[in-house]
Symmetry: C2
Subunit: 248 residues, 2 copies
Amino acid sequence: MQLHPVPGLPEIGPGDDLASLVAERVDLDSGILCLASTVVSKAEGRIAALDEFPAGPRAREIAARLEERTDEEKDPRFAQAVLEESTDLLMESPFLLTETRFGHICVNAGIDRSNTGGEDLLLLPKHPSESAARVSEALSVPVIVTDTCGRPFRHGQRGVAIGWAGTPASRDWRGESDRDGRELGVTVENVIDELAAAANLVAGEGDGGVPAVVVEDFEFGEMDGSDEHFRDVEDDYVRQALRGWSYE
Amino acid sequence: MQLHPVPGLPEIGPGDDLASLVAERVDLDSGILCLASTVVSKAEGRIAALDEFPAGPRAREIAARLEERTDEEKDPRFAQAVLEESTDLLMESPFLLTETRFGHICVNAGIDRSNTGGEDLLLLPKHPSESAARVSEALSVPVIVTDTCGRPFRHGQRGVAIGWAGTPASRDWRGESDRDGRELGVTVENVIDELAAAANLVAGEGDGGVPAVVVEDFEFGEMDGSDEHFRDVEDDYVRQALRGWSYE
């Protein structure tokens, strides 16, 4: 398996055709294209000014509580933007842990205040798998839209997939045997998250960051694929535990 | 960045010298070696029989509750083994979510019942970073000991690092600028988990699985490194929420 960054992409703006910009720079006969959500969002015009989110009572309450808890200034308009991009708030303090409209759980609905191209806010793509599908159809290769986010239990951020097209999300090893001939106990491998993590190692961050990475010579193998990716609350016991919990 | 499996490793048993077995098969002038915890455990004799774990009252109680909840037979000796390998139980039902002695949070203390080399149980290495350090010193390259495990919010398993030597755990981007010249907000990238995820894509599972993968041409970059990896409970709000929660 090899990964290489797509060289020389310009700063992306609303209406830019990502598929063409990538195709002009790399030969994509095969491989998987990993695109940072930042450039997908910019191409789709998902930049916004804080003034577009006049804060309602709930956003003001959330921002006031966060200010008190964190001793940092919090803009209620930012809280309003997070609320409008979310379908569920899993935690309201000491930070906002949200479920986005497409099922991704992350802090602040994934709204970015760095690398926003001069605007206040960069929102996540509205439907990242639809964005992936458009690029995938244009280029005839699988496409993964990636983000970086933190997680419970382990320090630091890592790359994850928030949208995908042209590849299953997971390899399903159920029914495969172990080396001793017994059926494998643990058996669904989230391939798109692993590909996003690998791409993030090559992409970097900040002003030297590269928002598109090509993965070559990855073999999915003969096993079945699955498109389950974001857990439902019914089978997510950690998420159930967060209900009703509040940080003191 | 390139990843390739180490070809032709034999079945590993107690006392085997993993460093030599790898060095005989690949040229390791540079690169990072990712070793599946299964082979590290086997080389270190971390196989065990269920009879070595006569169940005490707490293990019997846990197994009985799990049987009731899951409608599956649960061996109280297995619950005993999990308790002995753990320093904390974050959840007792519908599965055992544990903290291992070295700080890793996973189901069943990472005890494996597949690919155990004929024994009942394969325990995780006792000190995976010390195991990594021994192999790293012998081969003069960084070494990561990997495992696969599930996580909240997202379906499926992915590769993670449980031990490392010769490389920092994370890249610290704090102080770096974004493309607009502002300081990056989100800034610690867990590199060893991303490398473990990438290696897992190449390693596979089951009877065709390869337990050692070499990563080449990965550039850590100029930023600082950090060795924070497993979160402490004090800064892990999700873990705090699990305290006192119980599955009905």
